[in-house]
Assembly symmetry: C2
Homo-oligomer: 315 residues x 2
């Protein structure tokens, strides 16, 4: 019987509509997702741990300018890039996270270093960058993150006092057009170990050192072999207040819900508070998986044994 | 029938032993706790909301140099003070938090401003300070936080590469002597609304922008009228990984446990992973309350209708 190794990824959720997408761009997105899935899956296929698989997949997404994480990160109000990421190991419940880092090529890699090489879970800002410098994590100039497209996204709203929830094909036109750019992965390895990772550039035009759910263990990321691995994308504040990732785990552990039912219940709960606020990818230790979101679309994909990567954008 | 208004507070947990305490200092601690309880309780007695009661109580603890929060915050490795705080409203599930602020007299007040006057939950570092400056939150010079006692605590371990988990009567002597200085409050008002708040200076000699559980909704702080209000103190990394505050809520909501049983189960769970790692104060909407910790002591207190403040230090 083949091992149930499996990886799921997401590249953000929101008002992603066919009418706003070109065929060429759709192919680019799907190619980006497929590359990340394949890279992560290859780790699993080679017998590697889920922790490395999710880090690998998220790094590929961080390196792709289409997604709002790493290289494709959006601009803050101060024309900077402040990135957040986290990773969690479902076997040990160890976790690492960084928030507000500005010069790290792959924030998810730094999060893994924090988990493995520090006594801490969450490092922030310049301090996290000092840790990176002393632990061999790749740092880059801020120009690495520059793109004219992202800059114009900022310019379009810099005077509006609105932080844009947006990451998408064109410059955002308003709040009707909510898109949450964040990337994430969950994986199950041959030893039955789960892991989850999430990385983001946050919100265009964000101010005041705002941090969302991506680096918060229990909100944007959670993994526990006994229940599930979850990575979220969406309106970070809602995901923090509803402790979304851990809520799914608790519904499984304490109420006996299946992974799919737990995901549906939690997304239904947050939908009442904040319609079209995002979604999750989730996986349990038996290989059951779920993509659950209350937005019209979520960039997402799955790869499992002896199959090609499968990617979807719309509902 | 009198309303079940009630407030609980803590001032940190750890290896607090009678042998290391003088009678004078014990009185000072208990007086500090009593002042905070009385201030918070008076808000409730005047018909005020639990949210304001917990903010008020925590502010009194932040202003007291005995406790590791606000004025009494410990030094980081860089001889700074980096403070974290959060607050949550059990009626609305709204929350506010700040991490890594250096010049805020009352971080819990800033957390409340974030909740009320921003679209965000968590603001960090200099960005959070800019928000404070533009929202009338009291800022102070770094000298405000200086104390010779705290400075000597840092000097004793600055070359050890250890972050000290410590906040106590004497300069820490090692890891056998774990003390987690953090302050927090949970309250129930006449309308049956719960609230929770937590504030800390973190770890002596902490580096790299380390942030613990205090500003993390679900880990160090959580409030929900349907279940409970919780404020935690302890080894922040463990409390983050186990999503301690929200775990208590989930055990009540999904498994039907009483508040006391839920607190016991969660502290028992983290005790297996990390002995003597801290504790929680918790309160439900019917006025049931719990102090649960796996350390020899926790500075803590309770005030309820027509009674004097009651305070305890040891188990």
């Amino acid at each position: 019987m083949p091992e149930p190794i499996k990886i799921l990824i997401h590249g953000g959720a929101g008002t992603i509509l066919p009418s706003a997408m070109t065929p060429e761009l759709e192919i680019q997105y799907k190619n980006g997702l497929s590359q990340a899935l394949t890279a992560g899956y290859n780790v699993l296929k080679d017998g590697g741990p889920s922790l490395l698989a999710v880090e690998t997949a998220v790094k590929v997404l961080e390196d792709n300018p289409l997604f709002n994480a790493g290289k494709g990160s959006v601009f803050t109000h101060d024309k900077r890039h402040e990135m957040d990421a986290s990773i969690m190991d479902g076997k040990t419940l160890k976790a690492g996270a960084v928030a507000g880092v500005t010069n790290i090529k792959n924030p998810v890699n730094l999060a893994l270093k924090v988990m493995r090489e520090s006594d801490n879970v969450l490092l922030t800002g310049e301090g996290a960058e000092k840790f990176a410098a002393s632990h061999g994590v790749k740092q880059v100039e801020s120009s690495y993150f520059y793109s004219e497209f992202r800059y114009q996204q900022l310019m379009a709203i810099i005077d509006t006092h609105k932080a844009q929830l947006d990451h998408n094909v064109k410059v955002a036109v308003g709040e009707d057009n909510k898109k949450f750019g964040t990337v994430g992965a969950v994986a199950l390895d041959k030893d039955g170990n789960l892991a989850a990772a999430t990385s983001t550039g946050g919100l265009t035009n964000k101010k005041f050192g705002r941090v969302g759910d991506s680096p918060i263990i229990g909100a944007g990321t959670y993994a526990n072999n006994e229940t599930c691995a979850v990575s979220a994308t969406g309106q970070g504040e809602t995901f923090i207040r509803y402790v979304v990732a851990y809520d799914i785990s608790c519904l499984m552990a304490y109420k006996g819900l299946s992974l799919a039912d737990a995901c549906r219940e939690v997304i239904s709960k947050i939908d009442k508070a904040d319609p079209e606020c995002g979604g999750v990818i989730a996986l349990d230790a038996r290989g059951n998986f779920a993509f659950e979101f209350n937005t019209p679309g979520m960039y997402r994909g799955l790869m499992q044994q002896d199959e090609n990567p499968e990617c979807w954008i719309y509902r």
